[in-house]
Symmetry: D2
Subunit: 228 residues, 4 copies
């Protein structure tokens, strides 16, 4: 899996602070730039996040390039509707070199891993034959597994990212999307440290929201995300 | 493939007419019901659609139950973001009886079909073994093919449905989602004949919007959809 | 202010339960209807809400007709983006009988009320003159006050309504939108008692989320909303 | 009215081209940067727009600072739901220096203009008195007119902007929002000339979509927007 931050709103934290300041002051828009120069983003953004004034975070967007994830994970990812996606098409792009993801529960057992790898090889062999026989790629791909890798470019704004990380960095999320979300968070946090300071599953900001389903190790998780 | 209309806003066309009338009259809301009694929905809705006053269509929603479609198609479906989805989980539900879709380009050739069926059988056999060995369903499903069937409940409002049908009933859409969308349109049209009267690909309402990619048979397509 | 529930998804709670059941069982869609017959909606929906499995609530929509609210309030209302609106146009509809809202802080003081009423009367007089002189309604309305009444039809799904009520039924919301939201909640709760059972500001479901800004009377508020 | 482009996705056209290329090629994401270096954005974006492959435009966002518009116009603006807004609050910010918009149909007639100005002055005088007497700003503002100025920061992606300009730059839109949208388009076009090359009302790209309501001067309008 490879996750890159391809692009983002320049000076995301300044932009968010300007928007927040506009709502509650009588500054002109030209003055906003100056007005936020002196302030501590850490303190101001901390206050905004604590107040739940989250709409201002929407003015900062982040574009990620993600590859080496399975279609099982991309199917989950695209369920987040407040986001923009461009995904490599299995209809238009014929697969040449098979790329696929093997879950640890399979990979870590040699015999199991072999059976899985053999099955995948047979699948891609059949796929190649079908394409060679003139079956359209969009039909041949019906045999391809959920494990097949995909590439996708994703744009989300900071508000949606906080929500996304809250759900998908949690121990209860599927392992692959959790790994992907955690890499995204690391990159976003590097670019906008105060916006994403307490980002991650809900336990990072206080108490676990998963009830009986809790993983039971909030301390450990909190440590992991605060030191990301 | 089985598509059912599970539910919809009662009196969808009346509701839309009331909303449209509110925008441009000084009627009270209590009067709206009476005011739209006498009118011809056919004429009034025809006018609204022609004017492009589409926002009023959002007050009418339709809920479909869809099963027997492949995950290849559901992955395309859920890319439509102005909609609500509840999909059977491959993480939580272990597959017992394999159900899968075979494209015609494969099914129609006996030898090809046999190779495909054999491959699918091996895949489900391995899936069953992995589950039996204690591999979580969410990991075992990595071997399952795009052809695997899924079940999904979808709610869209009439405005989004018009957009969805415009894209997905077109000959250029993938054959399976086109078949599904056409069944949905038939059901929606039966419930709200004047809203969906000219629904379908853009050629139904005038000229093809696909440029060089046109299927070249707009007359035939128009006939198909107007008589649906 | 007058708020009516004009329309809603038939059997909203059954629809939501069917969608929830689909996600985690291997039932066919045709079986779902039967499968949810025997169950207690109260218990099942309580569980869904507690787990935060909120997406299934989107399959139930509610359409409200609202009149007698000020444009100050409708400007706040339409900021909720996951909803559909049809509002009486001040561009196309010329006001005949002035209708407007007077806040209690003005109405309750006789002198103040008189000055306010006199001002509003002068405003509507000028508006009428401008229209009579041939100034387009869309320009004449520039003189109309925020207090001017509007009529609007609003459709929201149950998930968005829970979010809306959480923000707008809170004591910290502006008094007029709070009054409106509370009337909407009462109507929705009557139609779908188990979905909206604990709906209202966050204190109804546990602790106040407003921090230092708390109204300080969570007990009172909780009582108000649970007995709505 | 003052409209500024405060921020935008860096290299918006390159970002969009990379996303489009990913969908239809087997390039890795790291290669995309190189692959789009040599190409003509003009040609490639022209093709994307013609094909209607608009989703890739969502990866480029633009943030505008707008002030000196009336609340009549901001009420229309915020009806566009695929966008992010931060607006100066009339609840929290007490107006000191009255700022308001006078439509030309009033301003251009001296007598009429005087009556309008006098009315506005009385209104702001009463507003000031109410605030001084301790009436909360959120209630005193009920007397303020639609003409009152507001300040707002707006973020939209390029796809939504194309849609917004299509509706709001049209002669049939209200004059003030049209003026604002045209200023926004000019700024966006300067930043991303090929994305917004044919942006504006539908007549710029071909035929008028307004039917009987057409302004009847498509040539003139087309010229205005292509030379913006």
């Amino acid at each position: 899996m490879k996750v890159q931050l391809l692009n983002s709103t320049p000076e995301p934290e300044k932009t968010v602070c300007m928007a927040a300041r506009l709502c509650y002051s009588d500054n002109s828009i030209s003055e906003l730039d100056d007005k936020v120069q002196g302030i501590s983003y850490e303190k101001f953004l901390g206050k905004i996040l604590k107040m739940g004034h989250l709409s201002v975070l929407e003015h900062a967007s982040f574009t990620f390039g993600i590859e080496g994830i399975s279609r099982a994970t991309s199917h989950q990812l695209v369920r987040h509707r407040v986001a923009s996606y461009s995904q490599q098409s299995q209809r238009y792009v014929t697969v040449k070199d098979p790329e696929y993801v093997v879950p640890a529960s399979i990979k870590d057992d040699d015999g199991r891993n072999k059976r899985f790898e053999d099955a995948v090889k047979s699948i891609y062999k059949l796929y190649g034959e079908l394409v060679a026989e003139g079956v359209p790629a969009e039909d041949a791909r019906f045999i391809l597994p959920n494990a097949a890798c995909t590439k996708i470019i994703v744009t989300m704004n900071a508000r949606e990212l906080l929500h996304f990380f809250s759900l998908r960095c949690c121990e209860r999320a599927q392992w692959e999307i959790r790994e992907m979300a955690t890499l995204m968070l690391k990159l976003a946090k590097n670019r906008a440290p105060f916006i994403f300071r307490e980002s991650g599953p809900s336990c990072v900001r206080g108490t676990c929201g998963e009830g009986d389903m809790t993983c039971g190790k909030p301390k450990e998780i909190r440590k992991k995300f605060t030191s990301l």
